[in-house]
Amino acid sequence: MTTTPARDVAARLGETFADYVPSLEGRDIVAIRPSYGLMIGGRERPAESGATITTIDPSTGAALSEVAEAGPADVDAAVDAARGAFERRWRDAAPRERSKLVFRLARLLQDRAREFAVLETLDGGKPIRESRDVDVPLAAAHFFYHAGWADKLQYAMPGMRARPLGVVGQIIPWNFPLMMAAWKLAPALACGNTVVLKPAETTPLTALLLAELVDEAGFPPGVVNVVTGAGATGSALVDHRGVDKIAFTGSTGVGKGILRALAGRDVRLTLELGGKGAHIVFDDAALDQAVEGIVDGIFFNQGHVCCAGSRLLVQESVADDLLGRLRRRMELLRVGDPLDKNTDVGAINSHAQLVRIREYVEGAVAEGCAVHQPQREIPSQGFYYPPTMVTDIGGSERIAREEVFGPVLTVQTFRTEAEAVARANSTRYGLSAGIWTEKGSRILWLANNLRAGVVWANTFNQFDPSSPFGGIRESGFGREGGRQGLEAYLELTPVRP
């Protein structure tokens, strides 16, 4: 267990910790090719237009590889391949054989976990500790969990006959590239759908490597197709008349656009969008543990987390104590090379995102908020932003209302449970919330009154394939994981007795 250092030793510790010896994960385990094509119908091919995009290592800004940029013709070919595979092979495959293929994919991913972790960190900038201990194991677990559902779907929704939807277009974000691919692919495949997956333009590499594993596992060609590209590629997929369902994880703005584009069409939709999660700390909480939870809630993955606990709400009577501990803890966070196993906060995913985060914090200062950042140097090369705490917040400032998607925490105080709930709910979002108190009935009362799809109590950022994840209100609809998550990939019709 980590405990927050006492006040007098914090500064000294800060210096000592700054002096640590780097422990770099070797990058030679993964061979990054100079260029990658699209994966369509089991074959790799360039975009019809020949267009490519460069994916970079955000920790240095150096180019990693060129990937094809799919246009409408390529998306069309991918949807065709998925349709053919659905109708000829996958829809009617024995559930047991589907199950064994998904299990096999989970095992192959576990076998090559280290390679995926390094590639994820290189392409996305997240600390190797996180890609190694969270992203890759969770991705494998999602495949393993859903594999078991493939031949048990008759139990998922009692009284209903479960059939696959058909061709599913899946558009995923850059914050958890492999994990989001797994969250999307695993239930879709287990339920008997075929997929066209569109990874984010800044982080396409692990999805492409995963497509190779899909092939190695022995899935029929065309069951999983990967079209790389940016927003236009995603739009082409949404606009394609051959898809039966779109699953999107990303910003609320883009999600709303997809909903508008699909309006009036017979296409199913699930959206996992942004959030502005409240992290509520009561005066009876175990404060050191709460500090660890707050740090994990907002600085995990550089704050590029839709369910981040980005709004700290602390009970007035312990605010000074808690914030003091939090500041001291922030001094100890190591911002630096994502491949260094000591790194706590890695590189911001892209230059564009770095600019957005800077604008939000500068805006907060202009609106009269106070900004606290640790006095540690951050690397001068690459895209980095220090852990940041913003206080003197009224509640109407942009930084208090909008999703920053960076390592930036806002702080407000409250006196009563009712006030905590009112502040927590004063957002259009509704993805996650955290509660820290030793009193169980208070946890459950709050959970019943918070408008959030996921509530963590005395912990934060816990994920499991058996636990449904997703938002309410403007954080989207649909769930991923658990029995409930299967519904998003099934057509259910009543079984007549």
Partner: protein, 280 residues
């Protein structure tokens, strides 16, 4: 002398992760279809049964405490290892009288059954348990819990699939097992221990006894530290008397016959309901 003398295997019991002979010193001769002796298989006694129950009880706490995901992966590993040793099982099933085609189908079924139950280890709780909408300010949750030590009468003519068909759901649900089979399944029952011993299954979680249901099941049903018996492999006319004897300790009894469905895993589970206030 130029012909090589093959080294024949001694078919033993599997108790607590080790391969002992029967403490009684008894064995049972197994011959192939042409009447040639293949092996003397260890024949379990009442004392072996008690040792097996003790091993299963000792292993239960740690096995039940593992995450369902971890148990799922371990049961899946059984399928992987079993698939890799299919040739040996097919040979031994042939000795027991199966045609090559039937033996192949039996091993196929056994491997797929292990995969099926691996996939159930982290599913049944969501299907059987859940949150109950009680009329008051409470969180009321029903959790699915394992029964404990399960005594499994596996069919003597069920091959490897008959064994895995009962062991699979018992393990997926978090129980430990004492499985018994003899007759034509004696050789594969003993050999399955070698698969389990190399599959990350902790010692004692599954114990395999080759012997007679008629002799062993009565002792198993009477044993006060056995929580459940599956009588699938017991002759139908003998089941009634055994069920009557379960009344002494209220040992659960079932006859799942290797069916792959939700009812089977429910036979290996119990329910615990937890109440917690949700009002400030």
């Amino acid at each position: 002398m130029t012909t090589r003398t093959p080294v024949a295997k001694t078919y033993k019991l599997f108790i607590g992760g080790a391969f002992p002979r029967s403490e009684s010193g008894r064995t049972h001769p197994v011959s192939d279809r042409k009447g040639r002796l293949v092996a003397h298989v260890a024949w379990a006694s009442r004392k072996d049964l008690r040792d097996a129950v003790r091993a299963a009880r000792g292993a239960h706490g740690a096995w039940a405490a593992r995450t369902p995901y971890n148990r799922a992966q371990i049961v899946y590993r059984v399928a992987e290892v079993l698939e890799g040793r299919r040739a040996q099982f097919e040979d031994e099933l042939g000795v027991g009288g199966m045609t090559p085609r039937a033996a192949r189908a039996d091993v196929d079924a056994a491997v797929d059954t292990a995969v099926y139950w691996a996939g159930f280890a982290d599913k049944h709780e969501q299907l059987v348990g859940g949150v109950n909408p009680v009329a008051g300010p409470f969180l009321n949750v029903s959790q699915v819990i394992p029964l404990g030590v399960c005594g499994l009468a596996c069919p003597d003519d069920g091959g490897v699939a008959g064994l895995v068909g009962l062991i699979g759901p018992a393990l997926a649900a978090g129980n430990t097992a004492v499985a018994i089979a003899g007759g034509p399944s004696a050789l594969v029952t003993s050999t399955l221990g070698e698969v389990l011993a190399t599959s990350d299954i902790p010692g004692g979680v599954v114990n395999l006894l080759t012997g007679d249901h008629a002799a062993l099941m009565g002792w198993l049903v009477d044993h006060a530290d056995v929580d459940m018996v599956d009588l699938s492999g017991v002759a139908p006319e003998a089941r009634g008397e055994l069920v009557a004897r379960t009344a002494e300790n209220l040992t659960r009894s079932a006859c799942t016959e290797g069916r792959e469905d939700l009812a089977t895993i429910q036979a290996f589970c119990d329910v615990r309901t937890v109440w917690h206030p949700a009002r400030i």
